[in-house]
Amino acid sequence: MAEETTELSQEQPQIHYSEKEKEEIFHGEFMPHINSMYNFGYRLTLDGDDAKDLVQDTYLKAYRFIESFQKGTNAKAWLFRILKNSFINDYRKKSKEPNKVDYQEVETYYNSEDVDRQITPDLRVEALKDMIGDEISNALNSLDVDFRTVIILCDLEGFKYEEMAKILDIPIGTVRSRLHRARQLLKEKLSTYAKSMGYKNTNV
């Protein structure tokens, strides 16, 4: 707990709030993000009960450390960061994620000049139109958690690169390279689905 206190209070000076103000912040600024928070929790843990526990823990922590939160600032990013840290500390250890990728290697490669050259998998916009079921969701869930996370933050939640860097405690350059790699992997998955649905490899 001591570690946690330091971490959460380092960024912002502590502000004193009355009980009434705390209640207003909690219900007015924190609770409106509950649906996004649950979806994030679910996409990280891939389990409904774990997601509930994770989100509940996060909200309790947010309340406990509410004086590190500056009223009117980006509550959603603040909450997402706490949830992400709780996930890493409490859940990631026990979850079964066997394949560890060497990100340093991946990111060095994707930070190189080749980044903008598109390695286009055999996938066309037409094929996507038939993915009306769970294909997209399953493809996203099948990505390694670090790659899944950047897609969730960027494409689902619309966070800016700078906000993502703060939520994930990584440099902006890493956000960009990880996002690039994540999209490439997602495309490969979707391309596999498209093939199984009978779309031929027609290179344009």
């Binding site: 209640e23 409904g48 997209i136 494409d155 689902l156 344009v204």
Partner: protein, 68 residues
């Protein structure tokens, strides 16, 4: 470059350059079209809807106990 355009993080110069480039470069145009379609599809298919009501209720109860 495609990525900063896609995510709305491009500068005005980058946007201008990209716009002109797309008119003459079919592979880039196709690439952009595909990435944008996937981005939109992810958003429409993966947002998940409402959090379970028992979770919301549980948080409200716990916090109201702390406040009182």
């Amino acid at each position: 470059m495609l990525q900063v355009i896609l995510d709305g993080e491009a500068s005005d110069e980058q946007k201008q350059y990209f716009k002109q480039h797309m008119d003459i470069c079919l592979p880039c145009f196709k690439g952009y079209e595909l990435d944008m379609a996937i981005k939109q599809l992810v958003k429409s298919k993966c947002c998940g809807g409402d959090a379970p009501s028992d979770l919301v209720e549980q948080i409200r109860i716990t916090i109201s106990q702390k406040i009182s």
